[in-house]
């Protein structure tokens, strides 16, 4: 059996729990620890049932076990406010941090756009932006690689049941991080992100609308080709990533209407927002893991920043 890279998950909410399932299917990753802050939490109990070691002492409860258990990659699904401290402590022990909070202290990563570059530069902290970012930035990039995009605006509609308390209480961080990433990763000159939480029953499948204003007339044929090719790239790790309408063209506006169904690992399939985030994080970690296993990169303990 091939050797796997051992992983710790921090945060036992929706995202952390869904990640367990994704990592357990991975050929190169193995989830070993789940870190929470509430001993009575459902998330920690579920992690134990799935065979993980758990601590309710936060990251400090994990640190003494990092070396003994050979943890090399950690996923942080807590909040932007505690992430920096978590990252500092784990980086100091040579653990690579995949950040699923909106903290964005490391480079922003959207796998089909820039993952290879991050792996080559051996970033010790990569940020996964937000579910809306993962669902929309590939499309913005698909347009901006054809011709300059003056403005990109995205609307993410999310099922109420799929949004945990952390995201709800910190909605502005979600907005800021996603808007910023439309520019830094998507390649637009300006970006704006809107989020809508819809409580319909049965829950609505995650929807994303991507609008780009191109510099000059949009090159329709090339944009359609580029967008369709990009959708195929995303579908490699999120099979439920699907085009509903568009690309449609109205003056300089290019509109693409996407639907994202999840795999139904932890939450039902409507929660495509959960899957696109965890699947992107998993794919990111796998890329690093493959490089580590092939001996191409070696993780280094970094000085506390």
């Amino acid at each position: 059996m091939m050797k796997k890279i051992k992983c710790a998950l921090i945060g036992s909410g929706n995202i952390g729990t869904d990640l367990i399932y994704k990592l357990q299917r991975s050929a190169v990753l193995e989830p070993v620890w789940m870190v929470g802050i509430d001993a009575a939490s459902e998330g920690l109990a579920r992690a134990r049932d799935l065979g993980l070691k758990t601590t309710a002492e936060g990251v400090d409860g994990l640190l003494p076990h990092v070396q003994a258990d050979g943890i090399q990659i950690a996923f942080d699904a807590t909040s932007a406010y505690v992430h920096a401290e978590n990252s500092r402590k784990l980086n100091a022990l040579g653990v690579l941090m995949v950040d699923l909070t909106p903290a964005a202290i490391g480079p922003l990563c959207v796998p089909p756009v820039n993952l290879r570059a991050h792996a080559e530069q051996l970033a010790m902290n990569v940020n996964m932006i937000s579910c809306a970012g993962q669902a929309t930035i590939p499309i913005v990039h698909a347009v901006s690689r054809v011709q300059p995009v003056d403005y990109a605006e995205i609307v993410a509609s999310l099922a109420s049941k799929s949004i945990g308390p952390g995201t709800r209480a910190n909605l502005d961080e979600f907005t800021y991080t996603t808007s910023d990433a439309l520019v830094r990763v998507g390649g637009a000159k300006k970006g704006k992100a809107l989020a809508i939480i819809n409580p319909a029953e049965p829950p609505m499948i995650m929807r994303n609308t991507i609008n780009c204003l191109t510099e000059g007339e949009p090159q329709q044929g090339r944009i359609v080709d580029s967008v369709l090719a990009m959708i195929e790239e995303v579908r490699k790790y999120v099979p439920g990533y699907e085009l509903v309408n568009g690309p449609s063209f109205d003056g300089q506006r290019v509109s693409v209407f996407m639907k994202v169904a999840g795999l139904g690992d932890y939450l039902p399939t409507y929660a495509g927002n959960l899957d696109i985030m965890t699947a992107a994080a998993c794919r990111t970690a796998e890329m690093f893991a493959e490089e580590i296993l092939a001996g191409k990169i070696k993780l280094q303990a970094t000085e506390a920043a």
């Binding site: 509609s157 909605l171 502005d172 907005t175 809107l194 809508i196 409580p199 609505m204 699907e242 309408n245």
Partner: protein, 361 residues
């Protein structure tokens, strides 16, 4: 002889009128109100004694977007022009979390806004804690606004209102965004809120006139303890407009309520200033009535008309389908999406992917 129902005695009841012409009315004007016209309207409302006037893009702070349209000026430009001219009125803004942010609230405050309506869908109050807390920190008159209130039952709505009160909201609104509610619906929701909120927390009602019930619903809300009423002079607002403020004021006067607003002056503002501004007569017509009847967000009206013209599907069919799919405020993108899907089903629109001989799915 039939017995007549005894009207509750509202004499002496204090009611605060909150005008929406320069915010909800922006929807009816496709966000195209010039700065000078805003100043003219606000000055006239101030002169008539309206104590609270909302001024922003129709979708509030952060509203300038492809999704909601671009206004002629930034929110900052509108607020900076209007606020210094007010002799007695306070200027409020709208903030919908997920669209507007705390940075934009700070900026609005810096331009003179002193009250804010923090609005969420009627089941999602817990997306508003940071914005409500920030508004209170700035010392603003802070109102929590539960939109599409017909989609939550009275007890559920009361729990959401209690959350907003807990974050710091000083007033909690029952917001009939679709103009769908009937007086009994309003009474039940206001009463449920009154039963759980602290006595010092005010209750507001924001109506739309899609079923012609704006005034009756506002009175029903007051009977159950509401003390703030949103309306707009001449009804300039989304859908069939808001509760027409001058008509509501006339009713308040007749019933002996105290508003501090001059009826004749307000009637003059309606007739001489607002009506001449209208691009279309804001009234109950086929589409706005459909909104009220189907329970659809009033702002969807003009977007649906545009999509109908572009894709050849009727606006009424689009609105009914949006209602069936339970789309809520902010999902204007789904209007175009729905129209395109309907047009494809009817062979009116080719799928760009099959058009060039490919499939993605």
């Amino acid at each position: 002889m039939s017995t007549t129902r005894q009207e509750p005695d509202l004499r002496g009841r204090k009611v605060l009128l909150h005008d929406m012409c320069l915010r909800d009315g922006m929807h009816a004007k496709r966000e195209q109100i010039p700065v000078e016209q805003m100043v003219k309207v606000a000055t006239a409302l101030d002169e008539a004694g309206v104590p609270l006037i909302q001024v922003t893009h129709g979708a509030g702070l952060g509203g300038n977007s492809l999704q909601h349209g671009f206004a002629l000026a930034s929110n900052e430009a509108y607020l900076s022009a209007v606020a210094p001219k007010m002799k007695q009125a306070k200027v409020s803004v709208l903030l919908i979390p997920g669209l507007g942010t705390m940075r934009e609230l700070q900026s609005a405050y810096d331009c003179g806004a002193r009250a804010v309506t923090v609005a969420t869908h009627c089941t999602e109050a817990d997306t508003s804690p940071q914005h409500i807390a920030y508004a209170r920190k700035l010392g603003m008159d802070t109102m929590g606004f539960l939109m599409m209130a017909h989609l939550n039952d009275p007890e559920g709505l009361a729990r959401q209102g209690k959350l907003m009160e807990g974050y710091g909201a000083q007033t909690v609104y029952v917001t009939d965004s679709a103009g769908y509610m009937l007086p009994a619906d309003v009474r039940a929701r206001v009463a449920a809120l009154r039963a759980v909120l602290k006595p010092e927390t005010e209750i507001g009602f924001h109506g739309h006139h899609n079923l012609g019930m704006g005034i009756a619903n506002s009175i029903a809300a007051i009977e159950e303890g509401a003390s703030r009423i949103d309306g707009s002079v001449a009804g300039l607002g989304a859908g069939a407009g808001n509760t027409p403020l001058e008509a509501f004021l006339a009713v308040c006067d007749r019933m002996g309520m105290e508003t501090g607003v001059d009826l004749f002056k307000l009637m003059d503002v309606a007739e001489d200033v607002i009506v001449p501004m209208m691009d279309h007569m804001v009234r109950v017509d086929r589409e706005s009535l459909t909104l009220g009847y189907a329970g659809v967000y009033s702002t969807f009206l003009l977007h649906a008309k545009r999509a109908a013209a572009r894709f050849g599907v009727s606006a009424r069919e689009i609105l009914v389908e949006l209602g069936r799919r339970k789309m809520i405020g902010g999902q204007e993108d789904m209007i175009e999406d729905t129209a395109m899907s309907m047009a494809k089903e009817r062979g009116l629109l080719k799928d760009v992917t099959t058009d060039i001989g490919r499939k993605t799915a």
